[in-house]
Symmetry: C2
Subunit: 238 residues, 2 copies
Amino acid sequence: MLAMTLSPEIDARRPHFDTAAETEGVLDNRIRRTAPKVVHEREHVFFEGDPIDHIYQVEKGTVCLYKTLLDGRRQIIDFAYPGDFIGLGAGDDHVFSAQAITATRLRCLPANALHEVAWRNPDIGMQLYRALSDQLRAARGLLLTVGQRTATERLAMLLLALSQRNKRDGTDGARIALPMTRADIADFLSLTVETVSRTFTKLRQSKIIDLAQSSLVVIRDYHALEQLAAGETKGKAF
Amino acid sequence: MLAMTLSPEIDARRPHFDTAAETEGVLDNRIRRTAPKVVHEREHVFFEGDPIDHIYQVEKGTVCLYKTLLDGRRQIIDFAYPGDFIGLGAGDDHVFSAQAITATRLRCLPANALHEVAWRNPDIGMQLYRALSDQLRAARGLLLTVGQRTATERLAMLLLALSQRNKRDGTDGARIALPMTRADIADFLSLTVETVSRTFTKLRQSKIIDLAQSSLVVIRDYHALEQLAAGETKGKAF
DNA sequence: CGAGTCGTTGATTCTTTTCAAAGCCCGTGG
DNA sequence: CCACGGGCTTTGAAAAGAATCAACGACTCG
C-alpha cells in the first residue's frame, strides 16, 4: 500500500512485515494452513463485484487495485506490495478489481473464518482495523495528490513513496525498481502515458533522477523531489 | 460521508442513523455521557496534526474534512453529515482538518475510552470497522471521480450522492440543499469555483437541474444525471 | 528475424484554469 | 426603510497544462 501523504517524514509508518508476522503467530489453523495462491503477470486475483470469499495478503510480487468507468477509464487506487492486505472491508462484494502486475504469490485468508477469528480475538481485530486505517490514509493521500498536485508533483510523490517503501524494507532508498508500466503509473496518478513519459524525461533532464532503464529510477536529488512533492509553489520551482 | 461509487443502485448503503442508535445502546457511560460539542459555521473541530483525543459523530449540521498543501491548495476528502463519524483511525494524530460548514452539534467520544470499549466489545469494534470500511469505500469512489471523470460528470456524481443521501434520510431526493459553498464543492471535486459555476449553469441550460437558489438544486432529469455520472462517453452525451 | 508491446517524442487540440469584472444576496447601520 | 458593504456567484476572455493524435524507436519473445 502506497501512502501518498503530504509530509513523509511525519508519517511514521508501521512496519507491515512485522505486523504480518505477529498476526501469523496468533491466527488459527484454518487461516494459517491455507494454500498460497499464485497468480501470473497480468492475471486477475478478483474483479469488482465478485463476492468476497477471501482476503489476500501479498507475499511476493505486486498487485494493482483499480476501479473503472463504463467506457474503460481506469483509476488505480493502490499498488499492493508484500505484506499488504487486499480486499479488507465490511461489504459482501469486492468494490475494486485486483490484478497482478508481476508474478505474485498471495496467502489466502477465508473471509468468514478471518472475521470469526477477529470477532473472538481483539488482537486480530485490531490488526485488521489498523490495516484498514492505513489504507484509508493512503487513499486520502492519493486523493490529495491526484486532486491538487501537478503532473510533476504527482510523479515526485510516487517516487518518494516508493523510495520510502524501499527504506522501510531495508533496501536502497535511492534505487527504485518500477514493477508497473507507464500505463499503470498513468492510471495511478490520473495522467496519460505520454505525460508520465514526458515528466520522467523532464526530471531526468533536471538531474533530479536517472533512468538506468525505463523501469529503474535512481534518485539523484532527493531534496528536490521532496520540494516538488511538498507543493509549495505548484511545481514551478525548477 | 458521501459515497461516490460508480453504480449507486448497487451500493446498498447501511442506514447510519440506525447503526448509530445501536451503538448508543451498548456504549458505556463514559462515552454516552459526554457533553455534545457545538461548533459555529466555519469553525474548526480540529486541525491536521492535532492529537486525536476525541472521535466525533455528527448530530446536526455538516462538517468538511480536508487536507492541504503548503501553498494553500485544498482537497476536501469528505463531507460529514449527521450520523457520520469523524476522526476514526489507528494513528495518534489527525491526518486531516475538520471544519463545520454550517452550525454543527457533535457528540464527542473520548478516543482511548472508545478503543478500550471496542477492545472488550466486538459489537462496537465491528461498528467502527464498518464505519471505517465505508469511509474507505467513499474515499476510493471519490478518487475515481476526481481522477477520471470530467467536470460535468463530477458534479453529476455529487448531486446524485446528495440525492441518495436525501432518499436514505427520507427527504425529497429531487430537492437538494447545498450547505457548502461553490468553493467547497470545487475543492471536493478538484475543480475551480468558476468551473463549478459554469457546470451548474450548463446543467441548468440542459434542463437537467433547476437552481431555485444557488444553494438549492432541483433535479429535473434524474436519468440524464445518472448517465453523466456513469461515464460511458466522457460526458459528451449532452 | 519479425511481430508486438512498451516507451518516447512531436504537433496540435481542448478542457479547465487563470485573470478580470460585474451581479446578486444578505445583513448591517444610518 | 433603504443604502451600503462584503462575500459569494456568475460570466467573459485569455492562457496554460495536460490530453489527444501520430509516428518512431527500443526491447522482448516466439
